[in-house]
């Protein structure tokens, strides 16, 4: 029994003397069984601290309490201990050695009976013990001996295993495997000593004896000093004291050493990152050469990033700010010291003693690292913290101001990489430059031109006037469109895949934002993104959706109602705008979302300042739908195929809901306004409809509100006229154009134009008499009820035939379908042809009208959310 183990458990014996005896006896049994108590021995400092105290307590323990009843055992044990203590005063270190010996004997026993399970256990214990006995990286000799023996034995066993057909039992085999792996790993550390042993085992063992007692006093004071140092630093911060008990000297020479220790502790548990950061800050102060500075800064920045890693929490604000500043300094240093470069894939400089110097034929001192990753990380951290902040607070705005400085960093980074790329010998991968330009683009594409201009001006001010960018020359930075264009075309030429697509989308977005509808539309259509956007990653799909919406809004601003509706349909018609634009998480009604998914979704959310106003979006969509649907509703009337021709299901549903209401109060929200306007428009009261639409407040968010309102008023007048003609045509023989123009306050030329358009699209069975300025309606063109019923019936019948065919095909697996298919299809076509012919006469208005529109029917709709 060792004091050490006692000490380890002492905290509990102090706390309650009743339990003490119990714990004592337990302790004894456990030590006898050689079952080490990992928990207590693992935590190193703790044990040491307490073992000091326990040495006092040990004596006071015994007579107390109930332990008397256990006197026999206890006394015998303690006697034994006493005997040992008297004959040879052993230090804690020696005791550990004894333990070690015991364990080794255990392993040897295991070897004798070929019990690998036991060996594995003992070996684990041995390794734990040995850690405490190491001095200066040298393990005890006996341990080395044991290792070698064990390895030999193991190899032997494995060899035997291969020859004999008899199998080991499961636990044994498992034990063997465990040992094998551990030995492999373990032996690397002691390779030197093992080799020495193998060379001359006797000599090795002899030298052992003298060496053992020497280091025994070292451990304790070292740790005391360490803990003391720790406390000191925390409490006052007099002088920083290092691990060895001596004060930490921050000299330029020792910088690399410190850096190395910090780097090594990175990623490990129980490392105090705050402390490391403060050390590095001090190191940076003493750093002299650019090389030192660069090294320190890089380590420092990555240490700061480490603070923010893990989970959804973002980096603390002050650290972000300092990281940003330090990156700026780093870039500045790199700019000034042109012979130092930070580059990916450079070789690590192993020698801590001296800094690398320029050798003959070398142009640069290469330092491994990736500026672009730092910048990306910095950007991501800002986004993350913006996601977490409530966007309606001043904190958000404050945080948002950091974007300017971030943009500067990105810009400088770009300049740096451009400078690197000038030198072809460095072979800087194109990808880094692409990435950094992509980041820059991400920060400007959704901003109005004026804002971009300010950003640009600020960043140019930051860099010295001698610098210029090849990609985005200083002279061209005045115009935001020009800038976006150059950035995008650069990416388009020099990259591929997703970055290329994203660049395209960003440019389209920017164009759409600045009312360049036709350019944006043409780019959208020529990009062919709608076909394969579903294969892209989700962030790109979100960008695609955003771009789509922006193009739709742009079309609306231009007064192209049909195009706007068509473009917005896909996003707004789904009722999941929030999700598709990554502006909020939808509540999932039908299936549970795993926390993992939810976290991912939250990460994807855009920060608030990038949002597209959803209410405005809905308002635009509904207004467009109204302008298209109301005439359509009037046109189709009550014919049985009404259901087939629906432009916007969402709108129809809302309208139905609105009509079902018994009492409709004055409109409150956007939706109410649009619905009441629809009702008024359907009844021909276009003035009322215009009033309703104009009183929607959200139009104020649009640039040039007035012109949009006039545009809408004009549209409503025209659609009102169309609706009127559809609804009341059956009741008139002739209608004077003048009457119509009076009714809708439209120019008579405009009325004639609208009427002729309807006539030419065969929406209206009428003729325009130009002499008398009247519309003459033709009668009897409308289908009778029987005719329309017959048409429906023929449609249904052909659908049935198709279903039957499919079933047959399915049944016969396509073998016996040659005849029946042909036959069936012929029938179907006949029916369809007839239906189409008749229907075309009346409903032919659709296609020609639609032909002018754009059709973005990408498959990105659901994929963005379903992930």
């Amino acid at each position: 029994m060792s004091r050490f183990f006692r000490g380890g458990d002492d905290s509990s014996s102090e706390s309650s003397s009743d339990e003490e005896d119990l714990s004592l006896s337990e302790e004894e049994t456990t030590t006898k069984d050689q079952q080490s108590e990992d928990e207590s021995s693992d935590d190193f400092d703790d044990d040491e601290d307490e073992s000091e105290e326990s040495s006092d307590d040990d004596d006071g323990d015994k007579p107390k309490g109930l332990s008397r009843f256990l006197l026999d055992q206890d006394s015998s044990e303690s006697e034994e201990e006493d005997v040992e203590a008297t004959t040879k005063v052993k230090s804690a270190k020696d005791k550990r050695h004894d333990e070690l010996e015991a364990t080794i004997t255990g392993i040897q026993n295991g070897q004798k009976i070929n019990d690998w399970h036991l060996i594995a256990n003992e070996f684990d214990k041995l390794n734990r013990q040995v850690v405490k006995l190491q001095d200066g990286g040298k393990a005890p000799k006996s341990y080395i001996k044991c290792l070698v023996q064990l390895e030999d034995f193991m190899n032997e066993t494995i060899a035997k295993q291969k020859v004999t057909p008899k199998k080991m039992n499961a636990t044994n085999a498992r034990g063997l495997n465990a040992v094998k792996q551990k030995i492999k790993k373990n032996n690397k550390d002691y390779q030197e000593q093992i080799d020495a042993y193998r060379k001359d085992s006797d000599a090795f063992m002899e030298s052992d004896e003298e060496e053992v007692p020497v280091p025994k006093k070292v451990a304790k004071p070292k740790f005391e000093a360490f803990t003391a140092a720790d406390e000191d630093e925390d409490a006052s911060g007099f002088e920083t004291v290092g691990k060895g008990g001596k004060a930490l000297q921050f000299t330029p020479e020792s910088i690399f050493k410190h850096l190395r220790t910090i780097l090594e502790s990175r990623g490990k548990k129980n490392t105090d990152r705050q402390e490391q950061i403060s050390i590095m800050e001090k190191l940076f102060k003493v750093a002299e050469t650019p090389y030192q500075k660069i090294r320190v800064l890089m380590t420092l920045v990555s240490a700061r990033f480490d603070l923010g890693s893990g989970g959804a929490s973002s980096m603390p604000l002050e650290h972000w700010k300092s990281a940003e500043k330090e990156l700026g300094v780093l870039l500045h240093i790199l700019e000034v010291a042109k012979d130092h470069i930070v580059i990916e894939g450079a070789e690590e400089w192993e020698d801590d003693e001296r800094a690398p110097t320029l050798e003959e034929g070398q142009k640069y001192i290469k330092i491994p690292g990736s500026i672009v990753s730092y910048i990306e990380r910095l950007d991501d951290e800002l986004t993350r913290s913006l996601q977490a902040i409530d966007p309606h607070t001043s904190e958000y705005i404050e945080r948002l101001t950091d974007e300017g400085s971030l943009y500067n960093i990105i810009f400088q980074g770009q300049l740096y990489y451009e400078a690197l790329q000038k030198d072809a010998s460095l072979e800087v991968p194109q990808e880094s430059l692409n990435r950094i330009i992509q980041r820059r683009l991400d920060h400007v594409y959704y901003k109005p031109a004026q804002v971009v201009k300010i950003l640009e001006e600020n960043s140019w001010k930051q860099v010295s006037s001698s610098l210029d960018s090849k990609i985005t020359p200083r002279s061209q930075s005045e115009e935001a469109i020009q800038l976006i264009n150059t950035l995008c075309s650069y990416l388009f030429e020099n990259s591929e895949g997703i970055i290329r697509a994203r660049a395209m989308l960003c440019q389209i977005y920017f164009l759409a934002l600045h009312d360049e509808y036709y350019k944006a539309r043409d780019m959208m259509l020529t990009s062919h993104l709608q076909e394969n956007i579903a294969n892209f990653d989700i962030t790109s799909q979100i960008l695609y959706n955003r771009t789509l919406v922006q193009v739709g809004l742009c079309a609306f601003r231009k007064g192209l109602v049909y195009d706007a509706q068509n473009t917005l349909q896909e996003i707004c018609g789904s009722g999941r705008q929030k999700e598709l634009l990554a502006q909020g998480v939808m509540i999932q009604r039908f299936h549970q979302v795993t926390p993992e998914q939810e976290r991912l979704e939250k990460q994807r959310q855009l920060p608030f300042h990038m949002h597209i106003n959803l209410e405005l979006l809905e308002c635009v969509y509904l207004t467009c739908s109204m302008l298209l649907e109301i005439p359509l509703l009037a046109q189709t009337g009550s014919s049985p195929d009404v259901k087939k021709r629906v432009i916007s299901k969402t709108y129809r549903r809302m309208l139905e809901y609105h009509e079902r209401q018994i009492f409709t109060g004055p409109p409150e929200n956007t939706r109410d306004h649009v619905m009441q306007a629809s009702k008024a428009l359907a009844a021909g009261e276009w003035k009322k409809a215009t009033h309703f639409i104009h009183s929607i407040k959200i139009w104020d968010l649009m640039p040039s509100t007035e012109s949009i309102k006039t545009m809408l008023a004009k549209q409503i007048q025209e659609e009102g006229l169309r609706t009127y003609l559809f609804t009341y045509a059956p009741f008139y023989d002739t209608l004077a154009v003048e009457t119509l123009s009076g009714m809708f306050e439209l120019d008579s030329r405009k009325v004639s134009a609208v009427v002729s358009k309807m006539i030419s699209h065969e929406e209206l069975a009428a003729a325009l008499d130009q002499v008398t300025e009247t519309v003459i309606f033709r009668k009897g063109v409308e289908l009778s009820r029987l005719q329309s019923l017959a048409l429906t019936l023929s449609d249904k019948a052909s659908a049935l035939i198709e279903t039957n065919e499919r079933t047959l095909e399915h049944r016969t697996q396509g073998s016996a379908n040659a005849f029946s298919r042909k036959d069936g299809r012929g029938g179907g076509q006949r029916g369809g042809g007839r239906g189409g012919g008749r229907g075309g006469a009346r409903t032919g208005g659709g296609p020609p009208r639609q032909a002018g529109g754009t059709q973005f029917t990408g498959g990105a709709l659901g994929a963005a959310v379903r992930g």
């Binding site: 009820r785 029987l786 019923l789 017959a790 249904k796 019948a797």
Partner: protein, 363 residues
């Protein structure tokens, strides 16, 4: 009663004019609600003579069921009337009364009204089954009010085929059983020719009805005495309904009904598809379970343990119930009915159209 010919199935139904008149009156008075009633008579020598009829009292039955407040109540109650318990009692009472006055009073079936032949439904089948189960010599008379209004009386007699009776008795209309019995929608109902029979008295009365006067000019009676001596004899009113040329209403109605049938068909189809999907799913699960169990058993066998039973899946999994195909069959029969109707209709209408056209053409 007619024990000797008990096994001989009747070939035709002979309906008394009285019965026809009563049915027509009852049905058209309740139109568009369905009307049902009871037929009495006897069968002799393969002819089912229907000699009298009386309607089922609808009001009495409607009272207890009124709480449902369903709109179709009147119709549905009337349609279900032949099976209602109260009506069976009523029916037996009536038969007893009729027997007392010495009328042929055997239960020979029931009648129902219909619109454009939309009578093929489950209720109809159940009613007829209810009658035919006890007595094979029963018939269902269907009076189509809508079609009769177009000029010609539409009165048809139906009975269930014996195969269908057998199938319905087992209430098994799965795909499998239908394949085995080769029962198709055509085999559900058997139509029986209807002969309208007049009593001699009636025939002689009909003969007494004066023909239309040959001379268009009728001499006015000279004095009151003249009128007393020779009361004016009016010729029967000629029916012009037959010459009705409006085709649209009929076809429209048929179209509507056909569309309804197609809808019903789709519903049925969906049900069946749902069943098939769930069946496949369930079967897949079972196969998975079986393979798993097999593997388990193989392991157990290797470890010298007793294998687990492999038929436990019957207990663990429950295959979904196949929806009855009866609904679909009836629907098919109904569609056939409509199509035949249109077919028959066009035959007469085409003739009419030619007549009209011939008249219009310049000679």
């Amino acid at each position: 009663m007619v024990d000797a010919q008990k096994d001989v199935p009747f070939k035709s139904a002979q309906v008394e004019a009285l019965v026809v008149m009563k049915i027509v009156k009852h049905c058209s008075s309740t139109f568009p609600t369905t009307a049902t009633g009871f037929l009495v008579g006897m069968d002799s020598n393969g002819v089912l003579e229907i000699t009298n009829t009386f309607p089922f009292p609808t009001v009495d039955v409607a009272v207890p069921d009124n709480q449902q407040g369903h709109q179709n109540d009147a119709s549905s109650i009337a349609a279900a009337a032949p099976r209602a318990k109260a009506n069976i009692v009523y029916q037996n009472d009536m038969i007893r009364h009729l027997k007392e006055v010495n009328v042929d009073a055997n239960n020979v079936g029931w009648y129902t009204s219909a619109t454009m032949g939309n009578f093929v439904n489950l209720s109809f089948i159940e009613n007829q089954y209810h009658y035919q189960r006890d007595n094979d010599k029963t018939v269902a008379l269907v009076h189509d009010v809508s079609r009769s209004s177009q000029g010609s009386l539409s009165l048809r007699a139906f009975k269930l085929s014996t195969e269908f009776m057998a199938a319905f008795k087992e209430a098994k209309f799965t795909t499998e059983s239908l394949q085995k019995s080769k029962l198709t929608f055509r085999d559900i109902l058997v139509e029986v020719p209807v002969i309208v029979h007049n009593s001699h008295l009636l025939t002689s009365f009909v003969h007494q009805i004066p023909p239309p006067p040959e001379d268009p000019e009728i001499s006015l009676p000279a004095s009151l005495d003249d009128i007393k001596r020779q009361p004016a004899q009016f010729p029967p009113h000629p029916s012009f309904d037959v010459l009705d040329l409006s085709i649209d209403p009929f076809l429209e109605k048929t179209c509507d009904l056909l569309l309804d049938s197609i809808e019903a068909h789709y519903t049925d189809l969906n049900n069946h598809q749902y069943y098939q999907r769930s069946l496949t799913r369930e079967q897949f699960k079972i196969t998975q379970w079986q393979t798993k169990r097999k593997a388990e058993n193989a392991v157990r066998l290797a470890a010298k343990q007793t294998p687990l039973p492999e038929d436990e899946w019957q207990r663990l999994f429950k295959l979904p119930q196949e929806p009855s195909r009866l609904e679909g069959m009836l629907n098919a029969r109904q569609v056939e009915q409509y199509s035949k109707q249109v077919d028959g209709f066009t035959a007469t209408v085409t003739a009419k159209m030619f007549a009209v056209r011939g008249n219009l053409l310049p000679e």
